[in-house]
Assembly symmetry: C2
Protein backbone atom coordinates (compact mmCIF):
# COMPACT_ATOMS: atom_id res chain seq x y z
CA UNK A 1 0.00 0.00 0.00
CA UNK A 2 2.77 2.41 0.87
CA UNK A 3 4.60 1.53 -2.36
CA UNK A 4 1.44 2.60 -4.26
CA UNK A 5 1.39 5.79 -2.23
CA UNK A 6 5.07 6.38 -2.93
CA UNK A 7 4.68 5.87 -6.68
CA UNK A 8 1.87 8.44 -6.66
CA UNK A 9 4.01 10.78 -4.62
CA UNK A 10 6.96 10.72 -7.04
CA UNK A 11 4.69 11.79 -9.90
CA UNK A 12 4.15 15.03 -7.94
CA UNK A 13 0.69 14.12 -6.65
CA UNK A 14 0.23 16.57 -3.75
CA UNK A 15 -2.55 14.61 -2.09
CA UNK A 16 -0.23 11.57 -1.97
CA UNK A 17 2.57 13.72 -0.53
CA UNK A 18 0.26 15.16 2.11
CA UNK A 19 -0.94 11.68 3.01
CA UNK A 20 2.62 10.34 3.27
CA UNK A 21 3.59 13.22 5.59
CA UNK A 22 0.58 12.48 7.77
CA UNK A 23 1.75 8.88 8.07
CA UNK A 24 5.23 10.06 9.06
CA UNK A 25 3.79 12.45 11.64
CA UNK A 26 1.46 9.84 13.08
CA UNK A 27 2.41 8.57 16.50
CA UNK A 28 0.28 5.49 16.00
CA UNK A 29 2.16 2.20 16.10
CA UNK A 30 0.32 0.84 13.04
CA UNK A 31 2.04 3.51 10.95
CA UNK A 32 5.61 2.91 12.12
CA UNK A 33 6.48 0.20 9.60
CA UNK A 34 4.78 2.09 6.77
CA UNK A 35 6.61 5.30 7.68
CA UNK A 36 9.93 3.46 7.73
CA UNK A 37 9.22 1.97 4.30
CA UNK A 38 8.23 5.35 2.82
CA UNK A 39 11.44 6.90 4.14
CA UNK A 40 13.62 4.11 2.79
CA UNK A 41 12.00 4.55 -0.62
CA UNK A 42 12.54 8.31 -0.41
CA UNK A 43 16.24 7.82 0.38
CA UNK A 44 16.61 5.32 -2.45
CA UNK A 45 15.09 7.88 -4.84
CA UNK A 46 18.24 9.95 -4.17
CA UNK A 47 16.65 13.30 -4.92
CA UNK A 48 18.09 16.46 -3.48
CA UNK A 49 17.13 20.03 -2.65
CA UNK A 50 18.46 23.28 -1.29
CA UNK A 51 17.16 23.51 2.28
CA UNK A 52 16.84 27.04 3.61
CA UNK A 53 15.80 27.89 7.16
CA UNK A 54 13.96 31.22 7.61
CA UNK A 55 13.67 32.50 11.16
CA UNK A 56 12.94 35.69 13.11
CA UNK A 57 10.79 36.95 15.95
CA UNK A 58 6.98 37.12 15.59
CA UNK A 59 6.02 40.22 13.61
CA UNK A 60 9.23 40.41 11.59
CA UNK A 61 7.28 39.45 8.47
CA UNK A 62 8.45 35.90 7.75
CA UNK A 63 5.29 34.83 5.95
CA UNK A 64 5.05 37.90 3.70
CA UNK A 65 8.76 37.56 2.92
CA UNK A 66 8.30 33.88 2.01
CA UNK A 67 5.19 34.70 -0.04
CA UNK A 68 7.04 37.33 -2.08
CA UNK A 69 10.43 35.55 -2.27
CA UNK A 70 8.74 32.25 -3.09
CA UNK A 71 6.92 33.84 -6.04
CA UNK A 72 10.28 34.96 -7.44
CA UNK A 73 11.85 31.51 -7.01
CA UNK A 74 8.97 29.75 -8.74
CA UNK A 75 8.10 32.23 -11.50
CA UNK A 76 11.52 33.64 -12.40
CA UNK A 77 13.88 30.81 -11.49
CA UNK A 78 11.62 27.85 -12.27
CA UNK A 79 11.97 26.29 -8.85
CA UNK A 80 9.56 23.79 -7.35
CA UNK A 81 9.08 25.05 -3.81
CA UNK A 82 8.00 23.40 -0.56
CA UNK A 83 7.39 25.56 2.51
CA UNK A 84 7.41 23.82 5.91
CA UNK A 85 6.29 25.97 8.82
CA UNK A 86 7.20 25.03 12.39
CA UNK A 87 5.22 27.05 14.88
CA UNK A 88 5.71 26.04 18.50
CA UNK A 89 3.00 28.43 19.64
CA UNK A 90 0.33 26.70 17.60
CA UNK A 91 -1.01 23.31 18.48
CA UNK A 92 -3.92 23.15 16.13
CA UNK A 93 -2.82 21.93 12.77
CA UNK A 94 -5.92 23.19 10.98
CA UNK A 95 -5.49 26.65 12.44
CA UNK A 96 -1.91 26.73 11.21
CA UNK A 97 -2.78 25.54 7.72
CA UNK A 98 -5.42 28.19 7.40
CA UNK A 99 -3.15 30.82 8.89
CA UNK A 100 -0.19 30.05 6.65
CA UNK A 101 -2.19 29.78 3.47
CA UNK A 102 -3.88 33.08 4.23
CA UNK A 103 -0.60 34.81 4.95
CA UNK A 104 0.98 33.29 1.83
CA UNK A 105 -1.97 34.09 -0.40
CA UNK A 106 -0.41 34.41 -3.84
CA UNK A 107 2.16 31.66 -3.18
CA UNK A 108 -0.28 28.99 -2.03
CA UNK A 109 -2.21 29.00 -5.30
CA UNK A 110 0.82 28.29 -7.52
CA UNK A 111 0.93 24.73 -8.92
CA UNK A 112 4.64 24.28 -8.16
CA UNK A 113 4.29 25.15 -4.49
CA UNK A 114 3.53 22.89 -1.55
CA UNK A 115 2.87 24.47 1.87
CA UNK A 116 2.76 22.36 5.02
CA UNK A 117 2.70 23.41 8.66
CA UNK A 118 4.28 21.18 11.29
CA UNK A 119 2.09 21.16 14.38
CA UNK A 120 4.29 20.97 17.49
CA UNK A 121 1.68 21.05 20.23
CA UNK A 122 3.92 23.51 22.02
CA UNK A 123 6.62 20.85 22.37
CA UNK A 124 9.64 20.78 20.07
CA UNK A 125 10.62 17.21 20.96
CA UNK A 126 10.67 15.11 17.83
CA UNK A 127 9.99 18.08 15.54
CA UNK A 128 13.48 18.10 14.02
CA UNK A 129 13.13 14.41 13.20
CA UNK A 130 9.68 14.80 11.61
CA UNK A 131 10.85 17.85 9.67
CA UNK A 132 13.86 15.93 8.29
CA UNK A 133 11.54 13.14 7.22
CA UNK A 134 9.08 15.56 5.63
CA UNK A 135 11.99 17.17 3.72
CA UNK A 136 12.96 13.76 2.29
CA UNK A 137 9.40 13.12 1.13
CA UNK A 138 9.15 16.58 -0.46
CA UNK A 139 12.43 15.95 -2.29
CA UNK A 140 11.15 12.60 -3.56
CA UNK A 141 8.06 14.44 -4.81
CA UNK A 142 10.32 16.66 -6.91
CA UNK A 143 10.59 19.81 -4.81
CA UNK A 144 14.10 21.20 -5.31
CA UNK A 145 13.93 24.17 -2.95
CA UNK A 146 12.64 23.89 0.59
CA UNK A 147 11.99 26.77 2.95
CA UNK A 148 11.71 25.83 6.62
CA UNK A 149 10.00 28.68 8.46
CA UNK A 150 10.40 28.80 12.25
CA UNK A 151 9.50 31.45 14.72
CA UNK A 152 12.73 32.58 16.41
CA UNK A 153 11.67 31.93 19.97
CA UNK A 154 11.70 28.92 22.25
CA UNK A 155 14.69 27.32 20.56
CA UNK A 156 12.90 26.52 17.32
CA UNK A 157 15.76 28.29 15.54
CA UNK A 158 18.00 25.40 16.63
CA UNK A 159 15.56 23.01 15.00
CA UNK A 160 15.73 25.06 11.79
CA UNK A 161 19.52 25.00 11.86
CA UNK A 162 19.60 21.26 12.47
CA UNK A 163 17.61 20.51 9.30
CA UNK A 164 18.76 23.19 6.84
CA UNK A 165 21.81 24.00 4.71
CA UNK A 166 21.59 27.73 5.31
CA UNK A 167 19.85 29.80 7.96
CA UNK A 168 18.37 33.17 6.99
CA UNK A 169 17.65 35.46 9.94
CA UNK A 170 15.08 38.24 9.40
CA UNK A 171 15.44 41.32 11.61
CA UNK A 172 13.49 44.54 11.92
CA UNK A 173 15.67 47.60 11.45
CA UNK A 174 14.54 49.53 14.53
CA UNK A 175 18.08 50.10 15.68
CA UNK A 176 19.03 50.42 19.33
CA UNK A 177 16.16 48.97 21.28
CA UNK A 178 15.84 46.23 18.80
CA UNK A 179 19.46 45.14 18.83
CA UNK A 180 19.26 44.52 22.54
CA UNK A 181 16.36 42.20 21.94
CA UNK A 182 18.38 40.01 19.59
CA UNK A 183 19.47 37.01 21.48
CA UNK A 184 23.13 36.28 21.03
CA UNK A 185 22.18 32.66 20.38
CA UNK A 186 20.12 33.33 17.30
CA UNK A 187 22.70 35.75 15.84
CA UNK A 188 25.34 33.06 16.19
CA UNK A 189 23.27 30.66 14.10
CA UNK A 190 22.60 33.05 11.20
CA UNK A 191 24.38 32.48 7.88
CA UNK A 192 22.73 35.49 6.23
CA UNK A 193 20.90 38.38 7.91
CA UNK A 194 18.07 40.23 6.13
CA UNK A 195 16.71 43.54 7.42
CA UNK A 196 13.04 43.23 6.57
CA UNK A 197 10.25 45.78 6.02
CA UNK A 198 12.73 48.50 5.06
CA UNK A 199 10.01 50.15 2.96
CA UNK A 200 8.39 51.29 6.20
CA UNK A 201 11.66 52.30 7.88
CA UNK A 202 13.15 55.79 8.01
CA UNK A 203 16.42 56.02 6.11
CA UNK A 204 18.43 57.22 9.11
CA UNK A 205 17.19 54.33 11.25
CA UNK A 206 17.97 51.82 8.52
CA UNK A 207 21.56 53.08 8.16
CA UNK A 208 22.06 52.92 11.92
CA UNK A 209 20.66 49.38 12.02
CA UNK A 210 22.96 48.23 9.24
CA UNK A 211 25.97 49.63 11.09
CA UNK A 212 24.91 48.15 14.43
CA UNK A 213 24.16 44.70 13.05
CA UNK A 214 27.33 44.64 10.97
CA UNK A 215 29.25 45.48 14.14
CA UNK A 216 27.43 42.78 16.07
CA UNK A 217 28.18 40.24 13.34
CA UNK A 218 31.87 41.12 13.42
CA UNK A 219 32.05 40.76 17.18
CA UNK A 220 30.78 37.17 17.03
CA UNK A 221 33.18 34.29 16.41
CA UNK A 222 33.04 33.30 12.72
CA UNK A 223 30.48 30.55 12.19
CA UNK A 224 32.11 29.34 8.97
CA UNK A 225 35.74 29.83 8.02
CA UNK A 226 36.07 32.46 5.32
CA UNK A 227 32.41 33.51 5.43
CA UNK A 228 31.37 36.93 6.71
CA UNK A 229 27.65 36.96 7.43
CA UNK A 230 26.16 39.46 4.95
CA UNK A 231 23.58 41.94 6.24
CA UNK A 232 21.09 42.42 3.37
CA UNK A 233 17.83 44.32 3.16
CA UNK A 234 14.34 43.64 1.87
CA UNK A 235 11.39 45.87 1.05
CA UNK A 236 8.10 44.09 0.54
CA UNK A 237 7.76 42.71 -3.01
CA UNK A 238 11.05 44.32 -4.10
CA UNK A 239 12.41 42.03 -6.81
CA UNK A 240 15.88 43.52 -6.80
CA UNK A 241 16.28 42.91 -3.06
CA UNK A 242 15.04 39.37 -3.48
CA UNK A 243 17.41 38.59 -6.34
CA UNK A 244 20.31 39.83 -4.18
CA UNK A 245 19.16 37.54 -1.35
CA UNK A 246 18.89 34.57 -3.70
CA UNK A 247 22.35 35.22 -5.10
CA UNK A 248 23.73 35.48 -1.59
CA UNK A 249 22.18 32.11 -0.74
CA UNK A 250 23.78 30.56 -3.83
CA UNK A 251 27.16 32.12 -3.00
CA UNK A 252 26.93 30.72 0.51
CA UNK A 253 26.18 27.20 -0.72
CA UNK A 254 29.02 27.40 -3.24
CA UNK A 255 31.37 28.51 -0.46
CA UNK A 256 30.23 25.67 1.79
CA UNK A 257 30.50 23.07 -0.94
CA UNK A 258 33.98 24.24 -1.96
CA UNK A 259 35.46 23.64 1.48
CA UNK A 260 33.52 20.47 2.30
CA UNK A 261 31.39 22.12 5.00
CA UNK A 262 28.16 21.45 3.10
CA UNK A 263 28.61 17.68 3.06
CA UNK A 264 30.01 17.69 6.60
CA UNK A 265 26.90 19.44 7.93
CA UNK A 266 24.57 17.06 6.07
CA UNK A 267 26.47 14.06 7.47
CA UNK A 268 26.34 15.46 11.00
CA UNK A 269 22.58 16.05 10.63
CA UNK A 270 22.16 12.42 9.60
CA UNK A 271 24.16 11.24 12.60
CA UNK A 272 22.09 13.35 15.00
CA UNK A 273 18.96 11.98 13.34
CA UNK A 274 20.06 8.35 13.67
CA UNK A 275 20.94 8.90 17.32
CA UNK A 276 17.53 10.44 17.98
CA UNK A 277 15.80 7.42 16.47
CA UNK A 278 18.01 5.08 18.51
CA UNK A 279 17.30 7.02 21.72
CA UNK A 280 13.52 6.84 21.13
CA UNK A 281 13.62 3.14 20.34
CA UNK A 282 15.90 2.38 23.28
CA UNK A 283 13.56 4.06 25.73
CA UNK A 284 10.37 2.64 24.29
CA UNK A 285 11.89 -0.82 24.10
CA UNK A 286 12.90 -0.64 27.77
CA UNK A 287 9.84 1.07 29.19
CA UNK A 288 7.31 -0.96 27.18
CA UNK A 289 8.80 -4.28 28.25
CA UNK A 290 5.89 -6.38 29.59
CA UNK A 291 7.68 -7.34 32.79
CA UNK A 292 8.89 -3.84 33.62
CA UNK A 293 6.10 -2.62 35.89
CA UNK A 294 6.52 -5.52 38.28
CA UNK A 295 10.29 -5.00 38.39
CA UNK A 296 9.97 -1.25 38.95
CA UNK A 297 7.59 -1.82 41.87
CA UNK A 298 10.00 -4.32 43.40
CA UNK A 299 12.92 -1.90 42.93
CA UNK A 300 10.87 0.85 44.59
CA UNK A 301 10.43 -1.29 47.69
CA UNK A 302 14.18 -1.95 47.85
CA UNK A 303 14.81 1.75 47.35
CA UNK A 304 12.35 2.87 50.04
CA UNK A 305 13.72 0.34 52.51
CA UNK A 306 17.26 1.54 51.86
CA UNK A 307 18.32 -1.97 50.81
CA UNK A 308 20.01 -0.71 47.66
CA UNK A 309 20.96 2.62 46.12
CA UNK A 310 19.17 4.05 43.10
CA UNK A 311 22.20 3.69 40.85
CA UNK A 312 22.55 0.00 41.70
CA UNK A 313 18.82 -0.62 41.23
CA UNK A 314 18.85 1.13 37.86
CA UNK A 315 21.85 -0.93 36.72
CA UNK A 316 20.12 -4.14 37.76
CA UNK A 317 16.92 -3.22 35.91
CA UNK A 318 18.92 -2.51 32.76
CA UNK A 319 20.94 -5.70 33.04
CA UNK A 320 17.84 -7.83 33.53
CA UNK A 321 16.18 -6.17 30.51
CA UNK A 322 19.29 -6.71 28.36
CA UNK A 323 19.24 -10.41 29.20
CA UNK A 324 15.52 -10.82 28.57
Amino acid sequence: MSSDLFSQLVTGDRAALAKAITIIESLSSQHIAQADELLTQAIQAKKNSFRIGVTGVPGVGKSSFINSFGNLLVKDFGKRLAVLAIDPSSNQSYGSILGDKTRMETLSVLPDVFIRPTPTGGNLGGVARRTRETILLCEAAGYDTILIETVGVGQSEYVADSVSDCLLLLLLPNAGDELQGIKRGIMELADIVVLNKIDITEKQILLQAQTDINNAVHLLPARHEGWTVPVLKHALNNREDEITIWQSLLTFIEHQKANGAFEAKRLLQKEVWLKEVVRDKLESSFFNHPDLDRKIQKALVDFSEGNKGLGKLASELILSWKQS
Copy 2:
Protein backbone atom coordinates in the same frame (compact mmCIF):
# COMPACT_ATOMS: atom_id res chain seq x y z
CA MET B 1 35.65 8.33 53.07
CA SER B 2 32.02 9.03 52.28
CA SER B 3 30.96 7.15 55.42
CA ASP B 4 33.15 9.58 57.40
CA LEU B 5 31.50 12.43 55.57
CA PHE B 6 28.07 10.99 56.26
CA SER B 7 28.72 10.55 59.98
CA GLN B 8 29.81 14.20 60.15
CA LEU B 9 26.72 15.21 58.21
CA VAL B 10 24.28 13.49 60.59
CA THR B 11 25.71 15.41 63.53
CA GLY B 12 24.46 18.56 61.77
CA ASP B 13 27.87 19.66 60.48
CA ARG B 14 26.94 22.16 57.75
CA ALA B 15 30.30 22.01 56.01
CA ALA B 16 29.90 18.23 55.66
CA LEU B 17 26.36 18.68 54.33
CA ALA B 18 27.54 21.27 51.80
CA LYS B 19 30.36 18.96 50.71
CA ALA B 20 27.99 16.00 50.33
CA ILE B 21 25.63 18.09 48.17
CA THR B 22 28.55 19.14 46.00
CA ILE B 23 29.41 15.47 45.47
CA ILE B 24 25.79 14.74 44.49
CA GLU B 25 25.74 17.67 42.07
CA SER B 26 29.05 16.74 40.51
CA LEU B 27 28.84 15.38 37.00
CA SER B 28 32.25 13.82 37.37
CA SER B 29 32.35 10.04 37.05
CA GLN B 30 34.67 9.64 40.04
CA HIS B 31 31.88 10.90 42.28
CA ILE B 32 29.11 8.61 41.03
CA ALA B 33 29.82 5.69 43.38
CA GLN B 34 30.35 8.03 46.31
CA ALA B 35 27.10 9.89 45.57
CA ASP B 36 25.21 6.59 45.38
CA GLU B 37 26.66 5.48 48.74
CA LEU B 38 25.77 8.81 50.41
CA LEU B 39 22.21 8.55 49.15
CA THR B 40 21.81 4.96 50.30
CA GLN B 41 23.03 5.98 53.74
CA ALA B 42 20.61 8.93 53.73
CA ILE B 43 17.70 6.62 52.87
CA GLN B 44 18.72 4.14 55.55
CA ALA B 45 18.75 6.98 58.10
CA LYS B 46 14.95 7.15 57.51
CA LYS B 47 14.59 10.78 58.46
CA ASN B 48 11.70 12.84 57.18
CA SER B 49 10.66 16.43 56.58
CA PHE B 50 7.81 18.59 55.39
CA ARG B 51 8.76 19.66 51.86
CA ILE B 52 7.17 22.92 50.75
CA GLY B 53 7.58 24.40 47.27
CA VAL B 54 7.42 28.21 47.04
CA THR B 55 6.96 29.66 43.57
CA GLY B 56 5.91 32.88 41.81
CA VAL B 57 7.05 35.24 39.08
CA PRO B 58 10.23 37.33 39.52
CA GLY B 59 9.47 40.34 41.69
CA VAL B 60 6.65 38.73 43.65
CA GLY B 61 8.88 38.74 46.72
CA LYS B 62 9.71 35.06 47.23
CA SER B 63 12.99 35.68 49.04
CA SER B 64 11.64 38.29 51.46
CA PHE B 65 8.67 36.04 52.15
CA ILE B 66 10.97 33.10 52.88
CA ASN B 67 13.24 35.27 55.02
CA SER B 68 10.34 36.45 57.16
CA PHE B 69 8.36 33.17 57.20
CA GLY B 70 11.53 31.19 57.87
CA ASN B 71 12.31 33.30 60.92
CA LEU B 72 8.88 32.45 62.32
CA LEU B 73 9.32 28.72 61.69
CA VAL B 74 12.71 28.60 63.37
CA LYS B 75 12.23 31.00 66.26
CA ASP B 76 8.58 30.40 67.18
CA PHE B 77 8.02 26.81 66.08
CA GLY B 78 11.50 25.41 66.72
CA LYS B 79 11.95 24.09 63.20
CA ARG B 80 15.27 23.27 61.59
CA LEU B 81 14.96 24.80 58.15
CA ALA B 82 16.71 24.14 54.83
CA VAL B 83 16.05 26.49 51.90
CA LEU B 84 16.86 25.17 48.41
CA ALA B 85 16.67 27.77 45.66
CA ILE B 86 16.31 26.70 42.02
CA ASP B 87 16.93 29.59 39.69
CA PRO B 88 16.97 28.68 35.99
CA SER B 89 18.07 32.19 35.05
CA SER B 90 21.29 31.94 37.01
CA ASN B 91 24.18 29.81 35.94
CA GLN B 92 26.80 31.02 38.34
CA SER B 93 26.55 29.24 41.64
CA TYR B 94 28.58 31.83 43.50
CA GLY B 95 26.39 34.63 42.23
CA SER B 96 23.30 32.80 43.42
CA ILE B 97 24.70 32.04 46.87
CA LEU B 98 25.59 35.66 47.35
CA GLY B 99 22.24 36.79 45.99
CA ASP B 100 20.17 34.45 48.14
CA LYS B 101 22.07 35.10 51.33
CA THR B 102 21.80 38.84 50.80
CA ARG B 103 18.09 38.62 50.10
CA MET B 104 17.56 36.35 53.12
CA GLU B 105 19.71 38.42 55.44
CA THR B 106 18.26 37.69 58.86
CA LEU B 107 17.48 34.05 58.02
CA SER B 108 20.92 33.12 56.76
CA VAL B 109 22.62 33.94 60.05
CA LEU B 110 20.43 31.63 62.18
CA PRO B 111 22.20 28.46 63.39
CA ASP B 112 19.26 26.19 62.53
CA VAL B 113 19.03 27.33 58.92
CA PHE B 114 20.81 25.96 55.85
CA ILE B 115 20.48 27.85 52.54
CA ARG B 116 21.60 26.27 49.29
CA PRO B 117 21.05 27.43 45.71
CA THR B 118 20.83 24.85 42.93
CA PRO B 119 22.65 26.15 39.87
CA THR B 120 20.84 25.03 36.73
CA GLY B 121 22.99 26.58 34.03
CA GLY B 122 19.76 27.67 32.36
CA ASN B 123 18.82 24.01 31.83
CA LEU B 124 16.30 22.26 34.07
CA GLY B 125 17.31 18.76 32.95
CA GLY B 126 18.38 16.74 35.96
CA VAL B 127 17.47 19.51 38.43
CA ALA B 128 14.50 17.61 39.90
CA ARG B 129 16.72 14.61 40.50
CA ARG B 130 19.50 16.62 42.15
CA THR B 131 16.96 18.51 44.27
CA ARG B 132 15.40 15.25 45.47
CA GLU B 133 18.84 13.99 46.42
CA THR B 134 19.71 17.24 48.19
CA ILE B 135 16.44 17.00 50.15
CA LEU B 136 17.40 13.51 51.35
CA LEU B 137 20.80 14.73 52.53
CA CYS B 138 19.24 17.73 54.32
CA GLU B 139 16.81 15.38 56.04
CA ALA B 140 19.64 13.12 57.14
CA ALA B 141 21.35 16.20 58.56
CA GLY B 142 18.31 16.81 60.73
CA TYR B 143 16.41 19.49 58.82
CA ASP B 144 12.70 18.83 59.34
CA THR B 145 11.26 21.60 57.17
CA ILE B 146 12.46 22.23 53.64
CA LEU B 147 11.47 25.17 51.46
CA ILE B 148 12.14 24.71 47.76
CA GLU B 149 12.11 28.14 46.10
CA THR B 150 11.64 28.25 42.33
CA VAL B 151 11.01 31.13 40.02
CA GLY B 152 7.63 30.54 38.34
CA VAL B 153 8.84 30.72 34.76
CA GLY B 154 10.36 28.25 32.34
CA GLN B 155 8.61 25.27 33.87
CA SER B 156 10.61 25.29 37.09
CA GLU B 157 7.27 25.25 38.93
CA TYR B 158 6.83 21.69 37.64
CA VAL B 159 10.17 20.79 39.17
CA ALA B 160 9.03 22.28 42.49
CA ASP B 161 5.81 20.27 42.35
CA SER B 162 7.66 17.07 41.53
CA VAL B 163 9.82 17.28 44.67
CA SER B 164 7.48 18.81 47.27
CA ASP B 165 4.49 17.82 49.39
CA CYS B 166 2.74 21.15 49.01
CA LEU B 167 3.12 23.99 46.52
CA LEU B 168 2.66 27.56 47.70
CA LEU B 169 2.04 30.06 44.90
CA LEU B 170 2.80 33.73 45.63
CA LEU B 171 0.87 36.30 43.59
CA LEU B 172 0.88 40.08 43.50
CA PRO B 173 -2.57 41.53 44.12
CA ASN B 174 -2.67 43.92 41.17
CA ALA B 175 -6.00 42.64 39.99
CA GLY B 176 -7.04 42.63 36.35
CA ASP B 177 -3.81 43.04 34.41
CA GLU B 178 -2.11 40.71 36.73
CA LEU B 179 -4.63 37.90 36.52
CA GLN B 180 -4.17 37.74 32.78
CA GLY B 181 -0.49 37.20 33.33
CA ILE B 182 -1.06 34.14 35.48
CA LYS B 183 -0.50 31.10 33.41
CA ARG B 184 -3.24 28.56 33.77
CA GLY B 185 -0.55 25.91 34.24
CA ILE B 186 0.91 27.39 37.39
CA MET B 187 -2.53 28.04 38.92
CA GLU B 188 -3.39 24.40 38.38
CA LEU B 189 -0.36 23.29 40.38
CA ALA B 190 -0.97 25.50 43.42
CA ASP B 191 -2.15 23.91 46.67
CA ILE B 192 -2.27 27.24 48.51
CA VAL B 193 -2.23 30.76 47.04
CA VAL B 194 -0.74 33.70 48.95
CA LEU B 195 -1.31 37.31 47.88
CA ASN B 196 2.01 38.89 48.77
CA LYS B 197 3.10 42.47 49.51
CA ILE B 198 -0.41 43.46 50.60
CA ASP B 199 1.12 46.16 52.83
CA ILE B 200 1.84 48.16 49.67
CA THR B 201 -1.51 47.43 48.00
CA GLU B 202 -4.59 49.65 48.08
CA LYS B 203 -7.49 48.05 49.93
CA GLN B 204 -9.88 48.20 46.96
CA ILE B 205 -7.36 46.51 44.69
CA LEU B 206 -6.69 43.79 47.26
CA LEU B 207 -10.39 43.00 47.63
CA GLN B 208 -10.80 42.83 43.87
CA ALA B 209 -7.77 40.51 43.56
CA GLN B 210 -9.11 38.18 46.24
CA THR B 211 -12.44 37.95 44.44
CA ASP B 212 -10.82 37.42 41.03
CA ILE B 213 -8.38 34.77 42.22
CA ASN B 214 -11.01 32.96 44.24
CA ASN B 215 -13.15 32.87 41.10
CA ALA B 216 -10.22 31.61 39.05
CA VAL B 217 -9.50 28.90 41.62
CA HIS B 218 -13.11 27.74 41.51
CA LEU B 219 -13.14 27.56 37.73
CA LEU B 220 -10.19 25.16 37.71
CA PRO B 221 -10.74 21.43 38.11
CA ALA B 222 -10.05 20.44 41.74
CA ARG B 223 -6.44 19.37 42.18
CA HIS B 224 -7.16 17.31 45.28
CA GLU B 225 -10.49 15.79 46.21
CA GLY B 226 -12.10 17.71 49.03
CA TRP B 227 -9.51 20.51 49.05
CA THR B 228 -10.42 24.04 48.01
CA VAL B 229 -7.26 26.03 47.35
CA PRO B 230 -7.25 28.79 49.98
CA VAL B 231 -6.33 32.32 48.86
CA LEU B 232 -4.41 33.84 51.79
CA LYS B 233 -2.58 37.15 52.16
CA HIS B 234 0.76 38.30 53.47
CA ALA B 235 2.14 41.68 54.47
CA LEU B 236 5.90 41.82 54.92
CA ASN B 237 6.94 40.61 58.40
CA ASN B 238 3.32 40.24 59.52
CA ARG B 239 3.38 37.42 62.07
CA GLU B 240 -0.35 36.90 62.09
CA ASP B 241 -0.45 36.38 58.32
CA GLU B 242 2.46 33.98 58.57
CA ILE B 243 0.88 31.93 61.33
CA THR B 244 -2.27 31.62 59.20
CA ILE B 245 -0.16 30.41 56.26
CA TRP B 246 1.67 27.87 58.44
CA GLN B 247 -1.63 26.57 59.81
CA SER B 248 -3.00 26.27 56.31
CA LEU B 249 0.06 24.24 55.30
CA LEU B 250 -0.44 21.91 58.26
CA THR B 251 -4.16 21.54 57.49
CA PHE B 252 -3.30 20.67 53.90
CA ILE B 253 -0.81 17.98 54.93
CA GLU B 254 -3.29 16.54 57.42
CA HIS B 255 -5.92 16.42 54.68
CA GLN B 256 -3.53 14.71 52.29
CA LYS B 257 -2.36 12.18 54.85
CA ALA B 258 -5.91 11.34 55.89
CA ASN B 259 -6.94 10.24 52.41
CA GLY B 260 -3.66 8.61 51.42
CA ALA B 261 -2.73 11.27 48.84
CA PHE B 262 0.41 12.26 50.76
CA GLU B 263 1.98 8.81 50.58
CA ALA B 264 0.71 8.30 47.03
CA LYS B 265 2.47 11.48 45.84
CA ARG B 266 5.70 10.53 47.60
CA LEU B 267 5.61 7.08 46.00
CA LEU B 268 4.92 8.55 42.57
CA GLN B 269 7.83 10.96 43.02
CA LYS B 270 10.09 8.02 43.86
CA GLU B 271 8.94 6.15 40.77
CA VAL B 272 9.58 9.16 38.51
CA TRP B 273 12.99 9.53 40.14
CA LEU B 274 13.92 5.86 39.60
CA LYS B 275 12.82 6.08 35.97
CA GLU B 276 14.95 9.20 35.44
CA VAL B 277 18.00 7.43 36.81
CA VAL B 278 17.28 4.40 34.62
CA ARG B 279 16.82 6.60 31.54
CA ASP B 280 20.16 8.36 32.16
CA LYS B 281 22.00 5.11 32.75
CA LEU B 282 20.41 3.44 29.74
CA GLU B 283 21.50 6.24 27.42
CA SER B 284 24.98 6.57 28.81
CA SER B 285 25.48 2.81 28.79
CA PHE B 286 24.45 2.66 25.12
CA PHE B 287 26.17 5.79 23.84
CA ASN B 288 29.42 5.25 25.78
CA HIS B 289 29.84 1.70 24.52
CA PRO B 290 33.40 1.49 23.13
CA ASP B 291 32.33 -0.08 19.85
CA LEU B 292 29.46 2.33 19.19
CA ASP B 293 31.20 4.93 17.02
CA ARG B 294 32.30 2.36 14.48
CA LYS B 295 28.79 0.88 14.33
CA ILE B 296 27.12 4.29 13.99
CA GLN B 297 29.42 5.18 11.09
CA LYS B 298 28.61 1.88 9.38
CA ALA B 299 24.88 2.43 9.93
CA LEU B 300 25.17 5.94 8.46
CA VAL B 301 26.62 4.51 5.25
CA ASP B 302 23.75 2.01 5.00
CA PHE B 303 21.30 4.82 5.69
CA SER B 304 22.79 7.21 3.11
CA GLU B 305 22.88 4.48 0.47
CA GLY B 306 19.24 3.64 1.13
CA ASN B 307 20.17 0.03 1.99
CA LYS B 308 18.13 0.06 5.15
CA GLY B 309 15.61 2.32 6.87
CA LEU B 310 16.45 4.29 10.00
CA GLY B 311 14.07 2.29 12.17
CA LYS B 312 15.66 -1.00 11.12
CA LEU B 313 19.19 0.36 11.59
CA ALA B 314 18.30 1.65 15.06
CA SER B 315 16.82 -1.72 16.04
CA GLU B 316 19.95 -3.51 14.84
CA LEU B 317 22.23 -1.16 16.80
CA ILE B 318 20.20 -1.77 19.95
CA LEU B 319 20.12 -5.53 19.45
CA SER B 320 23.85 -5.72 18.89
CA TRP B 321 24.46 -3.61 22.03
CA LYS B 322 22.11 -5.80 24.08
CA GLN B 323 24.06 -8.88 23.05
CA SER B 324 27.46 -7.35 23.70
